[in-house]
Symmetry: C2
Subunit: 388 residues, 2 copies
Amino acid sequence: MWRENKNLSLNIKAASKYLEIEPEKLYDLLAKREITQNRVLYQDLFHFNTGVSQIESGSVLHQMDSGFELIRGFPKIRRAMILEPAIEKHFLHTDTVCVEEKMNGYNVRVIAIDDNPVALTRRGFVCPYSTEKIREMISGGFFRDHPDLVLHGEMVGPDNPYIPKDIYDVDSIAFFVFDIRHKGTGRPLPVDRRREVVRDYGFMQVPFFGEFKKEEAAPKIHRIIRELGEKSHEGVVIKDPQMIDSPIKYTSSQSNCADLEHAFEFYNDVGRDYLFSRVVREGFQAVEWNEGPQEIEKRSLRLGKSILLPMIDTIRKIGKGDRVSNDVQIRVNGLDTISELEDFFNRQGLEVLFSDPERTADGYIVKIKKLNKSTNDKTDAIWKGDLW
Amino acid sequence: MWRENKNLSLNIKAASKYLEIEPEKLYDLLAKREITQNRVLYQDLFHFNTGVSQIESGSVLHQMDSGFELIRGFPKIRRAMILEPAIEKHFLHTDTVCVEEKMNGYNVRVIAIDDNPVALTRRGFVCPYSTEKIREMISGGFFRDHPDLVLHGEMVGPDNPYIPKDIYDVDSIAFFVFDIRHKGTGRPLPVDRRREVVRDYGFMQVPFFGEFKKEEAAPKIHRIIRELGEKSHEGVVIKDPQMIDSPIKYTSSQSNCADLEHAFEFYNDVGRDYLFSRVVREGFQAVEWNEGPQEIEKRSLRLGKSILLPMIDTIRKIGKGDRVSNDVQIRVNGLDTISELEDFFNRQGLEVLFSDPERTADGYIVKIKKLNKSTNDKTDAIWKGDLW
C-alpha cells in the first residue's frame, strides 16, 4: 500500500525512528497530507501542516544521506492585552525583560543545505524569492560554523511579495534576525548571546530597546509603543533574557488599524477572526491607556475609517467594472527566480499575475497582482442583484 | 435498543410515515438530539434542531391522539445589500412589491393546543412567558375557525426577556403579525388576504408602507429606511403580494449600529460573523447611497463608537470588580409563569438570575439578569495578566 504513492521518497522506517512517531501514524499523516513534501527547489524537505505530538505546525523534516534533521516551526508568540499584569504573571524565571521591535514583514527561518542558505516560510515551504534574497545577505560561513543552528528573522521592505512596507529604512528588502534556535529541540540562544553572534557575523537584527526591571517595564513599553505607533511601526516583543519563559508581544493601534485598512480592501477574503481580534485590541488599549472621551472618539473614528474606507473604495471600483488586486513587486537578479516563485504561488493555489520583467541596472523588477477572487466575485454578484 | 430512551414518547413508526422519513433515520435524529422533545408545558412537541430533508430547522412536530401536524420553521429571509438590482433580480413572479416594517423584537409562531394558544420560539420551543402574553392578545377563536393556520409575528416592547426595545408605541409587550402560513406545507397567505384576516380578528400587525411598482420601489424604500433609521427602527421586509417569491429584508444603519452597541457590551459572547456581517452592510450602504467624504466620516465614527464604547465600559466595569449582565424584565399575571420561564432558561443552559417578584396592580414585575460568562471570565482573566 505504501508503494502506491509514487512521489513519496521519505524513508518512512528511518523517519519514524528519528521522529519517534509510529510508522503507521506517519504513513497516515502523509496520506492525509498533514505532512507534505516540498516541491520547489528542494524535494528532501517535508512540512508539518498541522501540529503532531510535540512537533508544531510549520516544522520541517530534512532527509539527508546521513540521516535526518528537524527544523522546528516558529513558536506561537502570545499577546499581552494589558501589559502590567501580563508581564508580572507571564515571566516567572526572570527579574528583567528585554524589549525588541516586532517588525512588520514576513517570517523566515534560514538553514543551509549543501552549504547554501535556504529560506523557509512560516508554513515550512522553501520560498525561492526569499532564498535568493537571503543568499545576498547571509553567507554560508555561519552555517559551516554552526550547522546545528537556525536563524529566525523578519523579511521587511517594499520589494516584498507578502507584506510590502515602506516604513523602514530599507530600500528593497532586508532580513532582520530576531531569534536563533537549535535544530531538533528548538531551544533558543539567550538574547545577549544571540545579539552577539548576529553582530559577529555582520547580519542585521531587530532593534533592541533595552532590558528593564519587570516592575518598571510596562510604562517604559507604553512610551516605546506610542513612538513606534507614530511611525506606523508594529510593536514590540518582550523576552526573558535567558529565553526560558516564552516571549510575548504587544502592538500599536496604528499598526492594528493599518492591518485592517489593508485587509478590508479585500473584505470578503478576510477571516472573521481577523476583524474581531483587532477590534478587541482597540477596546483593551483604550482602557489600559485610560483614555478620555476625546481620545476614545479619535480611536473610534480611526477604527471605523480603517474598516469602511477601503471597503467603500473596493465596492465602488468593482461597481465600475474594475477588479481589485493586491499589488506587490519583487526585485531579482535572474529570470529563474521569477518562474520558481510563480510555480511556488501556483502550487499553493494562489491566483497571481506576473508582469513582464523590467530590466534594471543589476537585474529585474516584476510586478505581481494577487487576485482576491472571493471579494471580486461577491461584490460583482451583489451589484448584479445577488442577496447576502 | 429504542426502548433504552425512557423519556422518548414519540411514536416513531407513525411519525416516520407522516414525515416520510425512514424509521432508522428518525431514530438516529432523536439519538443525536437533532430532534428533541419539548419539556416545558407541552411534552408532545418535538423540535427539529437542524434542517432535515425538506423540513427546516425550528420546525415542530406535534403528536396528537388523532395523528400529527407539522409547524414549519421560519423561512430564512435573505438580505438585499444593494436594493435596486436585488429587487429586479429576486422578484420574478410579480410586477409590484409590498413593503412592511421589520420590527425589532423576537419571532414567535402561534398555534393552538386544546384550544389554547401556544407561542413557539424561533428554535421551536414553547416559551412560557410568550405563551402567557399571547393568550392575553390572541383569542382561541381564530384557531377554532382556522385550525390549519399558524400566526407568525414579532413580540416587541420593553417587558421582554430577549430583545427589549423602547422604540415602539408599546407599553409592555405586544404581538405584531407579519405572516400567516399553513401547517404542513408552510404555504403563506397572500399579503392582502393576511392583512384582512388579521384586521377581522382585531390582532395587531406590522405597519404597511405600500405596494410599489418594482422599478420604482428602490428610491421609495430608501426614503422609508431613512425615516425608520431616524427613529432607530430596524428596517423593512419586501414581499411579493402573492407570496410566491420569498420576502427579502433591508435595514437601517442606525439599527445595525445599535445591534453592535448592544452586542459589544458582551464582546466575547458575540459571534465573529455577527460583527463581520454588520460591518459589511455599512460599507455597501455607504456606496449604495452614494455618500461623500463627510457622510462616510460620520458613518465611520458611528460604526467605531458602536463597537468601542460598550466594550470599553465593560472592560472598565470588570476591572473595578463588577460583573456585566444583560438586564431585562418581564411582567406577568401569576407566579407560575415565572418559575416556568426560569425552568425554560435553565434547560437551555443560560445563566440567569431572577429578582424577587415585585407586586403591581395586576400582577408582578420580575427583573432578570442574564450573565455573560465568556465576557466576564475573559476580561477578568486579562486584568489578572492572562494573555489573549
